[in-house]
C-alpha cells in the first residue's frame, strides 16, 4: 500500500470508531469506552404533576412555572404547621419532591396521550379495577398480602420501570459498565440491573418485581425494554403513585439521554393492552444529587406492618365484644 493510502485508510478507521456512539453532543461526558456517561447520583424529584390539570396549557411560561413552584413551597410551609391534638403524619420535612418543575416547562409528566392524562382503561381494565376495589373493601388488613407493596417493603415505584418520581428519597445511583447499567434507587434501596449484552428476555415463567431489563444504545440514547414484570392482582403496580391494575402483557420501554452536564432526559412508555386503551409516555429529567445515598432497610424496620395488622385485629376484637 502507498503511504498516502495507508494514512487515509487509517483516518477513516479512526473516524468510524469515534462515531460508533454518534457524533452529536460532543460536549456531554463520556466513559473511557466512549459511551455517554450516566454514572453518578441523580434525582428526578419534581413538583410537576403526573397528569395535566384540566384547563392547563401544554407548557407553562417561565413565569407561570415559577408561580407553580412558589405555590408548592407555600403549600409545604402550610402543611408543616403543627396542629395540637393530632398525631401528625407526613409533613414538609418528610416529603422531598424538591421545589422545581421539569425543565421542559411541560405541565404534566405524561407527554402522551397529548392531553397529558392517562388513557382510558379498557373494559377489562375497568373490570379489574372494580374487582380490586371490591376485594380491598372486604379484605384490607386481613394479612400482609392485602396491603400495598410499599407497605410490605417489597417494591417502591422509583426502582422499577417506569421511574416515577417518588414522594421522598427520589434519588438514584447509576453505575454503568460496558455490559450493564445498574440503577440503585434510594427509596426501598432496590437495585435494578439493565443488561446490555443479552438479546432475549427470560422465559415467561420467570417473573420479577423489577421485571427483566435489557438495553442497547441507539446513538447516544440508552433504550431499555422491561418485560417479565411480576405484579399483585389487587394492588396497583406502583403502590402509592397511581391506582390501576396490571396484566401479564405490561411492557415498558425507557429512553435515557444525557443531554447536558447536569441533566439526563428520561422517557418511558408503558404498554398494557389488557388494561389501557392506548400506551402512555412520561418524561422526567434527572439532575445531579449531592448525596450520599443512604441505606433504606425497609423490611428490617417494618413496624408499620406489625402496627397495622395488630391494630386491625384489636379493632375487630372490640367490635365483637360490643
Amino acid at each position: 500500500m502507498s503511504r498516502k493510502k495507508i494514512i487515509s485508510t487509517l483516518s477513516a478507521l479512526i473516524a468510524s470508531l469515534i462515531s460508533s456512539f454518534g457524533a452529536q453532543a460532543q460536549d456531554i461526558p463520556r466513559t473511557s469506552w466512549g459511551a455517554p456517561d450516566l454514572n453518578g447520583i441523580w434525582t428526578n424529584g419534581t413538583v410537576t404533576p403526573i397528569q395535566r390539570n384540566p384547563g392547563d396549557p401544554e407548557y407553562w411560561t417561565p413565569e407561570q412555572a415559577l408561580a407553580v413552584e412558589e405555590a408548592a413551597y407555600s403549600r409545604r410551609v402550610e402543611n408543616d404547621r403543627f396542629v395540637e391534638g393530632q398525631v401528625g403524619s407526613y409533613n414538609a420535612a418528610f416529603f422531598d419532591l424538591g421545589l422545581k418543575t421539569v425543565p421542559s416547562l411541560r405541565t404534566s409528566l405524561i407527554i402522551d396521550p397529548p392531553d397529558g392524562r392517562f388513557p382510558e382503561l379498557s373494559e377489562n381494565g375497568r373490570q379489574r379495577q372494580q374487582e380490586a376495589r371490591t376485594f380491598l373493601d372486604e379484605h384490607l388488613f386481613d394479612g400482609p398480602e392485602t396491603l400495598q407493596l410499599t407497605e410490605r417493603c417489597i417494591l417502591f415505584g422509583g426502582a422499577a420501570a417506569p421511574m416515577m418520581p417518588e414522594p421522598y428519597n427520589s434519588n438514584y445511583q447509576i453505575v454503568q459498565t460496558p455490559d450493564h447499567v445498574s440503577i440503585l434507587a434510594e427509596n426501598g434501596y432496590a437495585m435494578r440491573v439493565i443488561s446490555l449484552s443479552r438479546d432475549e428476555h427470560y422465559p415467561e415463567n420467570v417473573e420479577q418485581w423489577l421485571g427483566d431489563s435489557i438495553g442497547h444504545w441507539e446513538g447516544d440514547t440508552l433504550v431499555v425494554t422491561t418485560d417479565n414484570i411480576k405484579y399483585d392482582r389487587y394492588q396497583s403496580y406502583y403502590g402509592v403513585m397511581y391506582n390501576a391494575p396490571t396484566s401479564d402483557n405490561i411492557r415498558v420501554v425507557e429512553r435515557f439521554t444525557r443531554i447536558a452536564e447536569d441533566s439526563i432526559r428520561y422517557q418511558a412508555t408503558v404498554t398494557d393492552p389488557d388494561i389501557y386503551t392506548a400506551p402512555w409516555t412520561i418524561e422526567t429529567f434527572f439532575a445531579p444529587h449531592e448525596g450520599p445515598m443512604l441505606e433504606y432497610a425497609c423490611h428490617e424496620g417494618n413496624v408499620g406492618m406489625f402496627n397495622m395488622l395488630s391494630g386491625a385485629r384489636y379493632e375487630e376484637s372490640q367490635a365483637t365484644n360490643q
Binding site: 487509517l10 479512526i14 453505575v175 459498565t177 437495585m191 440491573v193 443488561s195
Partner: protein
C-alpha cells in the same frame, strides 16, 4: 499509556511498514479491554463462593436440620472452614453470646427473616453477587434480599449513620481492590451458627483477581467489643457463566413467619 505487546513487535519486525503496525494497534486499543477498566483490573461480573461458610465459618461436620418436615432439605452439610487458624478469638462474654445464638439459631438468625446479611456474610452466602465497576464508581449487588453496597472510591468518608450493610470506602492497592467497612448496626450474624459481632465491627476486604475465572477474597475483622484480636477469612470467588444476578426478593417468603399470627382468623 500504550504498551506494545511482544507479539505485535515481532509482527512489526516482519511487516514491511511501521504504519501497518500502528494501524492494527490503534484498532485494538480503541476497543474496550476485557481486562481493564480505566487502567484498573476489571472486576465486572457475577461471582460466588463454593464454600459452606454461610452455615459455619469454622470447619464443621454434617448435622441435623431445624425442621424434620423438610427432611434433608434442611440438613447441615459438612465443610472446611474459611478462617485462618480455624478459630474466632471471642472475648469471654462474646463466646457465651455465640453459644446462646447457636442454641437459638433456627429462630434467631436474621437470615431467616430475609434481613440484610451484612458484610462479610453477603460475600459467602450460597447465592451470586455482581460487581459493577465503571471508570470511577464501584457498586455491589447481592442476589440475596437484593442487598446492595455503594463503594465510595473517592476520598474516604465517615459513616453518617449505622446500617445493615455498613459504610464502604474503597481504594486500589496495586491490582487489589481494598474496601474498608465500618458503620455497622450490629444486627447481622456472620453465619448460621451464631457467629456474631457488634456495631464496632471493622472489616477490611481485599479482592484480587487470580485469573479470568477466580478471585481471591480476604476479610480481616476486628471488633474490640467482641474479639480479643483481629482475625481473617480467606476464600476463593468463582465467576459464574451468566450475564447478571436475578431477583431474590425473599420478603414475601418471610411474611408468614413474621406476621402469620396477626392474620385475620377466618371462622371455618
Amino acid at each position: 499509556m500504550l504498551v506494545i505487546p511482544h507479539s505485535v513487535r515481532r509482527m512489526a519486525n516482519k511487516a514491511t511498514s511501521r504504519f501497518t503496525t500502528f494501524f492494527c494497534f490503534l484498532a485494538l486499543s480503541t476497543i474496550s479491554s476485557a481486562q481493564e477498566i480505566n487502567g484498573r483490573p476489571d472486576l465486572n461480573g457475577v461471582w460466588q463462593t463454593l464454600s459452606t461458610a454461610n452455615w459455619n465459618l469454622l470447619t464443621h461436620g454434617a448435622g441435623k436440620g431445624g425442621n424434620d418436615d423438610i427432611g434433608v432439605f434442611g440438613a447441615i452439610p459438612p465443610g472446611g472452614g474459611v478462617v485462618a487458624g480455624n478459630e474466632i478469638p471471642y472475648l469471654p462474654e462474646a463466646a457465651e453470646r455465640q453459644a446462646q445464638n447457636f442454641a437459638s439459631r433456627w429462630t434467631a438468625d436474621p437470615e431467616i427473616n430475609c434481613y440484610l446479611p451484612g458484610v462479610p456474610r453477603a460475600t459467602y452466602m450460597p447465592y451470586p453477587f455482581q460487581i459493577f465497576q465503571s471508570d470511577n464508581h464501584i457498586t455491589f449487588a447481592y442476589q440475596f434480599a437484593g442487598a446492595a453496597r455503594i463503594i465510595n472510591m473517592g476520598e474516604p468518608t465517615e459513616p453518617p449513620l449505622e446500617s445493615w450493610m455498613g459504610w464502604s470506602n474503597g481504594r486500589w492497592e496495586g491490582d487489589t481492590l481494598v474496601i474498608d467497612v465500618t458503620g455497622f448496626n450490629g444486627e447481622t450474624w456472620l453465619d448460621r451458627s451464631g457467629n456474631h459481632h457488634s456495631y464496632e465491627l471493622h472489616v477490611v476486604e481485599r479482592y484480587t483477581k487470580l485469573n479470568d475465572y477466580m478471585m481471591a477474597y480476604e476479610a480481616v475483622l476486628e471488633d474490640p467489643l467482641t474479639y480479643s484480636r483481629p482475625w481473617t477469612i480467606n476464600l476463593v470467588l468463582y465467576r459464574l457463566p451468566q450475564d447478571q444476578i436475578m431477583e431474590f426478593n425473599c420478603i414475601e417468603y418471610s411474611e408468614e413467619l413474621l406476621y402469620g399470627d396477626l392474620r385475620k382468623q377466618v371462622d371455618e
